[in-house]
C-alpha cells in the first residue's frame, strides 16, 4: 500500500516542464529564433548607417560639441540632478533615474548633450545636486571655459573624485 502511494505521489509530483505540443517543434522555435537574430543584425547595421547620417546632417564636425557626465568615485555621492548652462542659457537639465545612476556608478558615461557651437571660447556653468554619503544634501556649481576649435569638441564633466576642486567637478577635453 505504502509503496503504491509513494509511486503514485512521485508520478503526481512530476513536473511537466515541456509545454511543447506536437505541432510546435524545437526546430521551429530554433529556426524562428535564428531569423530573429538575423533581423536584429540587419536593424543594428541599418541603425549604424542612420546614426552616421544623422550626425553628418545635424552635427557637422566643424561645429559639433558634446558634453558627457561621469562619476569619479561611485561611493562618494548619489547624484540627483544636473544643470548645464552655456553663455548663461540652460543647455541641458537632467534628473537621474536609479538605473542611470547605477550605470554611471559602474563606469558608464552619459552623453548629456550634443549640439553645434561656433569656434572660440564659451563659458559653461555646471550645477548639480546630490546626496552625500553622510546623507546631507549637496549643491555645487562650477564654471569652465570651453575652447572650441575647428574640429569637434568633447568635454567630460567628472563629478567627485580626488582631483576635483572644492566644487567637486573636474573637466576633461577628449
Amino acid at each position: 500500500m505504502r509503496k503504491t502511494i509513494l509511486t503514485l505521489l512521485t508520478i503526481l509530483m512530476l513536473n511537466i516542464t515541456s509545454a511543447i505540443a506536437a505541432d510546435v517543434t524545437k526546430e521551429q522555435i530554433k529556426g524562428l529564433d535564428e531569423q530573429v537574430q538575423d533581423i536584429k543584425k540587419d536593424v543594428i547595421d541599418l541603425t549604424a548607417g542612420l546614426l552616421q547620417l544623422e550626425e553628418k546632417l545635424l552635427f557637422p564636425s566643424n561645429s559639433q560639441f558634446a558634453l558627457f557626465v561621469s562619476l569619479a568615485d561611485p561611493e562618494d555621492l548619489r547624484l540627483d540632478a544636473i544643470q548645464i548652462k552655456l553663455e548663461n542659457k540652460v543647455l541641458a537639465h537632467h534628473l537621474y533615474t536609479f538605473r542611470e545612476l547605477e550605470a554611471m556608478q559602474k563606469g558608464g558615461v552619459q552623453k548629456i548633450y550634443t549640439g553645434n557651437i561656433k569656434t572660440g571660447d564659451h563659458k559653461l556653468v555646471i550645477s548639480y545636486t546630490a546626496k552625500a554619503v553622510s546623507g546631507g544634501e549637496m549643491k555645487r556649481s562650477s564654471s569652465y571655459t570651453l575652447k572650441k576649435g575647428v574640429g569637434p569638441k568633447f568635454v567630460e564633466i567628472k563629478i567627485g573624485g580626488p582631483d576635483a576642486g572644492d566644487q567637486g567637478l573636474e573637466f576633461k577635453d577628449w
Binding site: L9, I20, D33, P60, A103, K106
Partner: protein, 677 residues
Amino acid sequence: MLRFIQSILFLLIAFNAMAENTINKSPELKDIFYGESLFYAFQNKHFDAISKLDAELGQFYALDNPALDPFNQHINHAEFSVGSFELAYRMHQRAGRAIKAIMESSLNQEIRNEAAYRLAQIYYRKNQPGNALDILEKIQGEMAEDLRVDEIYLRAQVYISTGKFAEAVTLLKSIENEDKYKGYILYNLGIAYIQNGEEKKGIVALGEMGKISSDERGILALKDKANLTLANRMLENGSPDQAKQYFSRIRLNGPFADRALLGLGWVNVSLGQFKKALVPWRILHKREITNESVQESMLAVPYSYSQLHYYGQAALSYGEAMDNFGSEVDRLQVSIKSVREGKFLNAILDKQGERDENWLHNLRDLQETPETRYILSLMASNDFQQSLQNYHDLAELRMRLSYWLATLDVYVELIEIRRKYYEPLLPVVEKQFKKLDARIRLRLSQRDRLDQRLKSLVISRRPDYLATAEERGIQDKLAGIELYLSSNPQHYSDEVRQRIARLKGVLHWNINGAYHERLTHAYKQMKTLDVYINTLNKAYKSFIRTRQAATQSYEGYDIPIRQLKTKIQATQVKVDGIMARQGRLIEALAVNELERRRNLLEEYQIKARFALAESYDRATKKQQKAQEDKFLQSKALKESAEKNKQDLNVKDTQQEQLLQEQPVEAQPAPEKEETVQ
C-alpha cells in the same frame, strides 16, 4: 532519475545567466564613446549599446593608423563587450562569430583564452555542451585571474552535461570555498556526486546547500531547490520521513513553496498521517486557483478526508473541487478562444509599450483577463519565455524602424529648407570670394618670397637687400648721374668723381653698417607679418569650411536617404513577417499549454466524480450502519425497558427523543477539523 535530469536542466538554464553578464564594471576609461556604450549596456539597453559600439569599432578599423586612436586601448574589451552585449540581446550566432575571430587571432594567449571561455559559454547556453567542451580544451596556460573561477565553474558544468561527473566533482571541489558562485558550486557538486554514483556525498552536499544562510534571492531559491531535490530523492528511495524534513525547510513564499506544500501533504499521506496531510494542503488550498499544485490539492484534501472516514466532508470537498474544476475548464475554454483571437499578443504589446526593461517580469502583474489568466503557468516554459522575448524585441525593432522612417522624412524637409536658403546665396558669396581669393593668393606669394629672401640672407650676406627705399633712391640717382657723366665726360671733373665716390661710400657704410640690425628688424617684421598672415589663413580656411559645410548641409543626401528608406521599408516587411510567425508560435504554445491544463482538469473532474460517488456511497453506508447500530441499541433498550417497565418509563421516553434529534455521523465534528488545521 527523471527529476534529477530536470534539476540539471534547471541549473543549466536558470543559473547560466549569472555567469553570462561578466562585463559588469568598466575598465579605466581611455575612450569616452566606449564609456557611453557601457552606460547603455549597464541599463540593459543592449540595442543602443551594440549600435554605438559597433559604430565606434567601424570607425576605428577604418582609420589609417588605428594604433594612435585612444580607442585602441579598449579594443579587446570592446570586442568582448560587443559579444557580451550581443549575448545579452540574444544574438548568440553573431556573438559567437565575433568571439571566435578573436580566438583565432594573433592576440596574446590570455586574451585568446578569455575568448575561448566566452565562446564555450555561448555553446553551453545554446545547450551544446560537446562544442563547449571542445572550445574549453583549446585554452592553454593560465586564465586571467579574474576569470579563473568562472572558467573552472563553466568547465565543471560542461562536464556534468557531458557525463564526466568525476571530473566535475574534482573541479567543483577545487573551488568549493570561493565566494563567487557560492551556493551554485555546492548544488552542482551535490548533483555531480549523485550522478557519479556517490549518493551519500551528494546528499551531504545538497543537505549543506539546503541549510545555507544568505540574503540573496537567487541563493535562497537554489536552497529551496536543493531541499526539493533532496525531498524528491528521498521519496524515490522510499524514505518519506527524511523527505518530510527536507520539504519542511522550503520557504512558504519561495518559488517552490506550492510544490513543497503539495509534496509535504503526500509524504504525510504515505506515512498514514492523513490529518497532518491536511495542514499543508489547506494552506495550498487558499492560494491562486490557476496553480497546478493548488488544483491537485483540491483532489488531495477530500482524499485525506475519506481516509479519515469523514466521508461526508470528503463528498462535500469533492463536490467543491468539481465545481472549481468545472468553472476553471470553462475559463480555460474562454482563454483559449481569447488567445486564438490574438488578444494575448495585444496584451503583451500593451505591456511592452511601457518600455520597461522588466516587462517580462511585469507580465505577471497584468490585469486578469481571459487571455492572461494562466500567464504564470505559461511563463514556466523557457521556450515560451524566449518566444515572448523575441516577440518583444521584434516589436521594438518595428518601433525603431517606424521612428527612423518618420525621421528621414523630417530630414528630407530639413535638407530642402537648407537648399532653398543656401542655393541663391552661395553664387554671390562665391563671386566675392573669387576676387578676394586672388588677392589673398598674391599676398601670400609675396610673403613667401620675402621669407625666402630672408632665409637666403642667413646663408649669404646681401646688405643691399636690406637697403631702405630712400637709400635705393639715392643709389638710383647716383647711378643716373654716373650714366650721364659717362656720356658727357666734359662735366666729369675730379671733384665730381670724388663727391660721387664719397656719397657711394656713405651709402655703402650705412647699408653695411646697419646690416645686422636691419636683418634682425626684418625678422621681427616677418614675424609680425606672419601673425596677420595666420589670421588671414584662418579666416580663409574658415570660409572654405563654412562654404563647404553650407554645401554639404544639403548636397549629397538624396541618394543615401533614398537607399536607407528603401532598406528600412524592406526590413519593416521582414520584421512584420517574422513577427507574425513569432506571434503564431506564441499563440500555439499558449493554446497547447492551456489545452494541457484543461485536459488535466477534465481528468481531475472524472476522478473527482468517481471519488464523490464513492464518498457518498461510503457516507450512506456509514449512516445506515449508524442507524442500524442505533436501532439495535434502541431495541435492546426497549427490551430492557419492558423488563423494568414501571421503573424506567421516563428514561425510555428520553432515549427515543434523543434518537430523533441526533445528526448523522457523516458530517465530521468541527472541532476535529480545527485540530487538523
